[in-house]
């Protein structure tokens, strides 16, 4: 095994040394991709550095040969690594209300080595709500760069042994020190972990202001965003209900079999907004922002500028309650416009069991659309942003409705898995309960056909992708920096799947690693418009909040299809600065620094 790895390593080094020559010989072959995955530093002052500008990524070679992939898109690489983590919700028969929710995932480059690492949250012993054994510990996996991962949880100080039952996780650099931090949502107190920059984290919740929340509220999801564009990332947390093991209700089917209670038997609660004051302190802005007026059972959070006014808005999928669209008024206040904008209910005017959500521009018209999933028989929804404060429910005209009638979805999101420039839809599926033969479900991939309709391509994704289980969290992340998005998925009671994308179609791509200066360092909220040489326009924005309980790769990804040249790129930073990059190189990760001044003419 060692010898095989060594041989592959040498081949990779040779490929890297030959650089562009290799690329010419094999324009987009797997070896060329390894050699060409260098990041290129960009700014408005220094447009594009040559492709020979090497970075630390150059000598990172993965022990991973896509040519062995066969005809499937994804293979599970988790089995190549030794780690103990299993998504553990203490399922022992007694059905406690929060148990169906477990297994948040975050993609985070915690050690800034250019490779995205993975963090997972975990459950706890019930009814104690304590991590009574390592079975329930959270988990940080270091990406070794060779297709394997090393469990560094204890070393990093992230077991979360004192946190109890954990749900969602959100990764971002909240203090702009260049290191991504972690916020973890819990049944008990929520936790903020500061990344010390040396491979360790410190729980800095106490005194941060984030440790406060109403008593016994279950916090399930969180998203970092800068709602006041002051360069400091604020935080919104979705809360599900008020619950304790002592107040847990027992629901029986036919007075015999226990089943998970419907959320309708529990109270609705408000999400919470925390404003970043700097220096590691946050103030609770829930009431001042009017977020607190809207009571729901919050699940997935999607952050985007839905109105095009340069301010970040918030969509929240609610379980059995109308969804929320909090439109940022620019004065620290949000207006809940879900009903008015047409995103609150399904086609029949009913609230559904909204779970995961994502907000991206699926039809490349320059406006950010919304998707969310729900339970079987309810149909996942896709809402097209028409502009002017109006969304159309295009669930049926895009064919998403018929494709999703059988599935109960949890995490989900837009992912251009084949780099054709059209964002496809992934959903992590599995029933809430385990009472029927169709409770275990496989994930789904729906391919976007020209921004108009979707077709089911799950079968092409491969058997590892189609694993039937109780899938919950998921993150989209390019783990090997090959420009094709990989997938990480948790399933109740299982080891997570680390699904590497085999890049079966050699489409071109770009990825933007933005670094804000006036804006928040992660560039969260920056919008990017790519115009190819043929005139095709593609849109994306920087966010880590995708799906449910999870946090995806913060780098903004673009598939370019067969396009070999990009004419220009326009980046609108949260600060208001507009940056234009002329003729940037493609098939690489572009490190882009925010200019310190507003360029002339912007």
């Amino acid at each position: 095994m060692v010898e095989v790895r060594r041989r592959r390593f040498l081949v990779s080094v040779a490929a890297c040394l030959t650089g562009l020559a290799v690329r010419r010989a094999n324009p987009l072959g797997p070896t060329a991709k390894v050699g060409l995955s260098q990041a290129t530093k960009l700014s408005s002052a220094a447009p594009v550095q040559s492709s020979s500008a090497r970075t630390k990524l150059d000598d990172r070679k993965l022990d991973y040969d896509p040519s062995n992939a066969g005809s499937y898109w994804f293979s599970d690489f988790a089995g190549r690594s030794r780690f103990a983590y299993r998504t553990s919700n203490d399922f022992t028969g007694r059905k406690y209300f929060p148990q169906p929710m477990c297994g948040g995932v975050a993609a985070i480059d915690y050690n800034n080595d250019g490779l995205m690492d993975l963090f997972f949250t975990n459950g706890a012993k019930l009814p104690e709500l304590e991590k009574t054994s390592p079975t329930y510990y959270n988990c940080l996996l270091h990406n070794n760069g060779d297709g394997t991962f090393e469990d560094v949880t204890a070393k990093a100080g992230l077991t979360g042994a004192d946190l109890g039952y954990c749900f969602g996780v959100a990764a971002a650099d909240y203090d702009n020190d260049g290191h991504q931090d972690l916020f973890i949502c819990n049944a008990g107190r929520n936790a903020l972990y500061h990344n010390n920059g040396d491979g360790t984290f410190t729980d800095v919740s106490a005194g941060s202001g984030l440790e406060h929340k109403p008593e016994n509220v279950l916090s399930v999801g969180a998203a970092w965003f800068d709602y006041d564009n002051d360069g400091l990332l604020d935080l919104i947390v979705t809360n599900y209900t008020i619950w304790t093991p002592q107040t847990d209700k027992q629901c029986l089917k036919d007075d015999a079999r226990e089943e998970y209670c419907s959320p309708t038997v529990y109270k609705s609660v408000a999400s919470r907004l925390y404003r970043n004051l700097g220096h590691g302190r946050f103030e609770d802005a829930t009431e001042a922002s009017a977020i607190g007026k809207a009571l729901g059972k919050g699940m997935g959070i999607s952050i985007a500028d839905f109105t095009g006014d340069g301010l970040m808005d918030v969509f929240i999928a609610n379980d059995t309650e109308p969804n929320f669209l909090f439109v940022n008024q620019g004065n620290g206040v949000f207006r809940e416009c879900g009903l008015e904008y047409g995103v609150a209910y399904n086609e029949e005017g009913n609230p559904v069991s909204g779970m995961g959500s994502d907000a991206k521009d699926f039809d490349n018209d320059g406006r950010v659309d919304i998707i969310y999933n729900d339970l079987a028989g309810q149909f996942f929804a896709i809402l097209k942003n028409e502009g002017g404060g109006s969304f159309s429910d295009v669930t049926w005209s895009t064919n998403l409705g018929p494709l999703t009638r059988k599935f109960s979805g949890w995490s989900m999101g837009f992912i251009d898995y084949n780099n054709d420039g059209w964002k496809d839809i992934y959903s992590a599926n599995g029933d809430v309960d385990n009472l029927t033969e169709s409770s275990r479900q496989h994930d789904t991939m729906f391919e976007n056909e020209g921004g108009k309709t979707f077709i089911d391509v799950t079968e092409k994704m491969g058997p590892d992708f189609a694993f039937a289980g109780y899938q919950r969290g998921s993150a989209f992340v390019d783990l090997n920096n090959d420009g094709f998005m990989d997938l990480v998925v948790t399933s109740l009671g299982q080891k997570p799947r680390i699904l590497m994308n085999h890049a079966l179609i050699k489409n071109h791509w770009m990825m933007f690693d933005l670094h804000g200066h006036k804006s928040n360092r992660d560039g969260i909220g920056a919008t990017i418009k790519v115009t190819t040489q043929s005139g095709r326009t593609l849109y994306n924005h920087v966010t880590t909040s995708v799906g449910f309980m999870s946090s995806s790769d913060r780098r903004a990804h673009f598939g370019l299809g067969a396009e070999t040249k990009v004419d220009h790129v326009e980046i609108r930073w949260p600060s208001g600065i507009v940056q234009r990059l002329e003729h940037p190189a493609i098939d690489r990760i572009l490190n882009v620094e925010e200019p310190t001044h507003r360029p002339l003419g912007s």
């Binding site: 036919d254 015999a256 309708t264 009903l339 029949e348 609230p351 079987a376």
Partner: protein
């Protein structure tokens, strides 16, 4: 009181059952329950009485009692089409779809010309995700119900809704139109037709059907559902005032929650 007891004994179980049937038909459920209990007291294995007792228990939200009665009835007489059908129906309404299949199939075999067992089998297969079987069964149910009655309209509406969920909106619209022919006063049929026309891109006629549905007696489809649909249709038709008015009525109307 003694005279009442004497009278009851004198009536006999059959008469009690007949009384119960009449009370049930006239929606006097409490009286029906007393009569059927009297019948079963004297004749615990009287199959029609057990079935009626099960139907009353279902109305009283006691599916456990209903199932117990029906299982007893089937044990006594496995050829009771009625008992088999209502047991299947009971499982179906409790989302026990797998369990629903066997009694519904038996009911279908016992009464091959009755559309109802086939109809519920279709809905059961739909719930189980077997689209091919569901389609075949819906078609059979439609064929077995050629008359123009509210029952056949109900079958057609469900069939049309299923077709719509498969993305076959044109065929769905056809079924909804047939349902309206069968029962012009069916609010469900007009509402489903409005949805189907909306999917077909015909917002104008969809709005007309929606408005018509609002005028019909409230049975299945709620006012809130119709107002919501109309709000969206008028938005598409660029009639913001009407859209706003329906949205306000939607907000004011009682709403339901799915799960």
């Amino acid at each position: 009181m003694i005279w009442l007891l004497v009278l009851q004994l004198a009536l006999g179980p059959s008469q009690h059952y007949e009384n119960a049937k009449q009370d049930f038909a006239q929606r006097r459920f409490s009286e029906a329950d007393s009569e059927v209990n009297a019948a079963l007291h004297e004749s615990p294995h009287m199959v029609p009485a057990l079935v009626l007792k099960a139907r009353l228990a279902t109305l009283a939200h006691r599916p456990d009692v209903a199932k117990s009665c029906l299982i007893t009835a089937i044990t006594v007489d496995p050829t009771s089409e009625e008992a088999q059908f209502f047991l299947g129906l009971s499982y179906y309404t409790q989302n026990d779809f797998k369990l629903a299949i066997s009694p519904l199939q038996t009911a279908q075999t016992l009464s091959p010309k009755s559309p109802m067992p086939v109809f519920y089998l279709a809905m059961t297969q739909e719930a189980l995700g077997d689209e091919t079987k569901a389609l075949e069964l819906y078609q059979q149910a439609e064929t077995l119900s050629p008359e123009k009655t509210p029952q056949s309209a109900g079958i057609l509406v469900a069939y049309g809704r299923f077709l719509l969920s498969l993305g076959r909106s044109q065929e769905s619209v056809e079924k909804d139109r047939l349902a309206i022919e069968a029962d012009p006063e069916s609010r469900d049929a007009h509402y489903e037709l409005a949805k189907g026309l909306d999917h077909e891109g015909d917002s104008k006629n969809a709005a007309l059907e929606g408005e018509r549905a609002l005028t019909l007696p409230l049975l299945g489809t709620s006012d809130a559902q119709i107002h919501f649909l109309l709000a969206n249709l008028y938005r598409k038709l660029n009639q913001p005032d009407l859209a706003k008015a329906h949205l306000e009525k939607f907000q004011a109307a009682p709403q339901t929650t799915q799960r």
